[in-house]
């Protein structure tokens, strides 16, 4: 079942094409990694999927009952967040905002959903700790728990391991893989780390201001573009 369908999509900034020729589908339960160099259009694509940017051409459509409120987004951290006075619980709970509708306050169900997701990511003990005092890996887990609070269907992550040390990076990748395989949650991740991308993802989308590869990870490893990017001698 296709959740996201991109047809002949291109995005531009003030008339300059940022990325074009996007043709791909993301199915329920997929783990898609979007790889490519800096400025290849990865973040632009994320904005397009989140409807923060309208395509210059083509269409980005949602299927399988997915809507904007059903996407859990894990954005890159901003400088202002790093010393933000908020408890981990407050941050996680804010993920339930999409379920709030017109109501001003969270219900008991919202709160228990937040607790559940904190337990799932093993951060319940950090509940009342201040966000700014957490380590980089713990902060990412808090943001991931918030994203899980916002979604039942799809997670969209923008460079989730940026700035983390290798051990914590691997832990986070394993965690994301577990979430994907156990709950069937669709994962779309933008990443620099192509080695880990081919290790964990089921599908790869390689961008170079245009779509140079889309398909199963096994096929990507065998493809010419994949071999070059992975550093395997052709």
């Amino acid at each position: 079942m296709a959740l996201i369908i991109c047809k002949d999509v291109s995005f531009d900034y003030e008339g300059h094409i940022a990325v074009s020729g996007l043709n791909f589908e993301v199915n329920s339960g997929d783990y898609l990694c979007v790889v490519g160099e800096n400025g290849s259009g990865k973040s632009t694509l994320i904005k397009g999927i989140l409807r923060l940017k309208t395509p210059a051409q083509g269409s980005v459509a949602f299927g399988g009952g997915l809507d904007l409120n059903g996407i859990g987004y894990l954005p890159q951290q901003t400088a202002a967040q790093k010393d933000f006075p908020a408890s981990a619980y407050e941050v996680v709970l804010s993920g339930r905002l999409s379920a709030l509708g017109g109501k001003p306050f969270y219900s008991q169900a919202d709160k228990s959903e937040a607790e559940k997701n904190m337990k799932r990511l093993d951060i319940s003990h950090l509940r009342n700790r201040c966000y700014r005092e957490l380590s980089g890996g713990q902060q990412q887990r808090v943001l991931l728990a918030r994203a899980l609070c916002a979604t039942k269907k799809a997670l969209l992550m923008d460079e989730p391991v940026a700035g983390l040390d290798p051990v914590v990076t691997q832990e986070l990748y394993k965690l994301i893989e577990t979430i994907n395989s156990e709950t069937g949650l669709t994962v779309i991740m933008v990443s620099h780390d192509v080695q880990s991308a081919v290790k964990y993802a089921s599908h790869i989308l390689h961008l170079k201001n245009t779509q140079v590869f889309f398909g199963k990870t096994d096929d990507y490893i065998k493809s010419d573009v994949g071999k070059v990017f992975l550093g395997i001698g052709a």
Partner: protein, 278 residues
């Protein structure tokens, strides 16, 4: 000293000033938490300078100060917000451009009309004698609106302040919330600036938030603590200024500075106490 305090509350203009001041400090502190955390502190400062220019023009035209200052400062608030969000000139530089520009216009208008006099001095550094009954009414309306907004939209304000990208992605109209906060900030500044002074009013927005952030670790406690600190500091400042015949605006700012260092010291002491394991 008690006698002097009772004497103080016998003056109708002082009671009005204290009422307006308390409500303005409360609003400024609540809005300040979001502004400071979003790195928009300079907007408060820029708006007060624009307010000074607007008051100067109002005086020159013999118009009621608020009727000119409120629309001008609200307009400036939206402009500054736009400039900080997306512009070729970076946000802080844009604020500096607008605030010095407005100051220059204000000084020019004054020197060609009434000339530099006590009015100008009062605009710059504040005067407690300027609060009218309509100011009190407007302050009450403003305070009710800001408080209601904060309570009803607290969860959304938190999300927009903490992570605008995430908030936008889950369908919150972040632009609307930013404009609402800018709008209320503009009104707060215009109301408070004649008492606190154009050069001092932004302290009411910035100090309480920074002070409570020394000690508090949750957003809800930062918000409540800021409001309490702001109101207490204002009251202490006004009483001290009355007792020692000191300028009100400057007294309030000095009390705020004292509170900041007090909280800062409290943090240092708390950090030295070893934490319980787990």
């Amino acid at each position: 000293m008690i006698d002097r305090l009772i004497e103080m509350f016998a003056y109708a203009f002082l009671v009005r000033a204290i009422a307006v001041g308390l409500l303005v400090s409360l609003c400024a502190a609540l809005l300040g938490v979001s502004l400071v955390l979003k790195r928009y502190s300079m907007i408060g400062d820029g708006l007060s300078h624009v307010g000074f220019g607007a008051l100067a023009i109002a005086t020159a035209m013999n118009a009621a100060p608020l009727s000119v200052a409120i629309p001008v400062v609200v307009l400036a608030a939206f402009l500054l917000l736009r400039l900080s969000e997306n512009s070729k000139i970076k946000g802080d530089a844009a604020v500096a451009l607008i605030s010095t520009g407005a100051l220059a216009v204000g000084v020019m208008v004054i020197s060609f009309t009434s000339g530099m006099n006590t009015d100008v001095y009062n605009y710059m550094f504040g005067s407690i004698l300027t609060m009218s009954k309509s100011d009190v009414a407007l302050s009450i309306i403003l305070a009710v609106v800001v408080l209601a907004l904060f309570v009803l939209f607290y969860n959304r304000i938190f999300a927009v302040t903490f992570d605008e990208n995430f908030a936008r992605a889950i369908g919150i109209n972040t632009g609307l919330y930013n404009m609402l906060i800018a709008f209320l900030t503009a009104i707060t500044i215009v109301l408070g600036m004649r008492m606190m002074g154009a050069l001092l009013i932004s302290s009411l927005i910035i100090f309480p938030a920074l002070t409570s952030m020394r000690v508090c670790k949750r957003f809800i406690s930062v918000t409540i603590c800021s409001a309490a600190v702001s109101v207490l500091c204002f009251l202490t400042g006004v009483i001290l200024s009355f007792l020692f015949a000191a300028p009100t605006g400057a007294s309030v700012v000095l009390v705020n500075i004292a509170a900041f260092f007090l909280f800062w010291a409290a943090r240092a002491v708390m950090d030295r106490i070893p934490k319980k394991p787990g």
